[in-house]
Amino acid sequence: MNCIIIDDETTARLIINQLCSQIDSLNVVAEFPNAIQAIKYLNQNDVDLIFLDIHMPDFTGFDFIQTLKNPPKIVLTTSDSNFAIEAFEYDCIVDYLVKPIVLPRFEKAITKAEKATVESTKALSKEITEGVSGNDLYINIDRRLIKLDIPSIYLIEAKGDYIHVKTEDKNYTVHSTLKKIEEKLPKEVFLKVHRSYIINVNKIIDIEDNSVLIKKDVIPVSRSNRPELMRRLNLL
């Protein structure tokens, strides 16, 4: 696995590098004393794993993760155990190492990262073979598979055990969950703005306070999802 280290402390970078050198499957391709430099690097290069310090001046580890569209696996390295709960909110975070890091615990984190990578690859293969093909999504209604053009979907609403899928031409009610359909949709276009709503960001008409107008639907935007929505917009 190609990995990078992001930590503002030289000692921490040296230690993580040393730990990586003791594991054959790891290849440290770069180190950064701050997140901004790492973002520039990641715009040009792909990596499999990031060792990320949370507590950095100006731009924290969590700020950094929120800038990544398709984050690789991340192992947090920190002197604070207080952030553990927040860490579990991110799917890309595979482990949380409290400094000083010792080799046996580090090895355990790498095993978790490798396992998570294998599972992601399997999920991707499954997605390709089941249901999603290019811009199409097949939904099962009354034992019929109906093809939807993904870009034409502008809103998905959760209603109990069902979801309402609204497209330019027609609306559909499908027995599924928001989580399942979210996994099938391109992340750069669709965004979950509320626990009951996924929107097509390209179809937004306007945004006001904590709501967004999509076609004729006014959709609530939860406080926790608002920063990501704002980040997606091409603001003047």
Binding site: T10, Q18, P100, L103
Partner: protein, 105 residues
């Protein structure tokens, strides 16, 4: 008071003396600077900045095997975040202890 040691560094190096020397040199170089910044900020009662300084020094305390001192530093950091300097004297003793130890390396 507990004594600083190189146990963690030795364990980490697995016998790699070049790594040990490199890490110790970084500590020798950075610790006095970090300590000076900390002393300036605490004197000026800039508690938020001081908490940041303690956070950085805290990692070095753990690298030098000072487990109890690390706990004190962690609590002191939290106090500083709450705008109080309780445990300052204890933390300053830790700094003195490390300073004396580093002169022996």
């Amino acid at each position: 008071m507990e004594q600083p040691n190189l146990n963690y560094i030795k364990e980490l190096s697995g016998g790699d003396e070049a790594f040990e020397a490199k890490l110790i040199n970084v500590i020798l170089l950075e610790f006095p600077e970090e300590k000076a910044i900390y002393l300036k900020n605490i004197t000026e009662k800039k508690y938020k900045e001081t908490a940041e300084n303690v956070h950085k020094i805290k990692h070095k305390i753990s690298i030098l095997g000072l487990e109890k001192s690390y706990e004190v530093a962690a609590k002191y950091e939290e106090n500083l975040k709450q705008n109080n300097s309780v445990l300052k004297e204890e933390f300053d003793s830790i700094l003195k202890n490390i300073t004396e130890y580093l002169t022996t390396l």
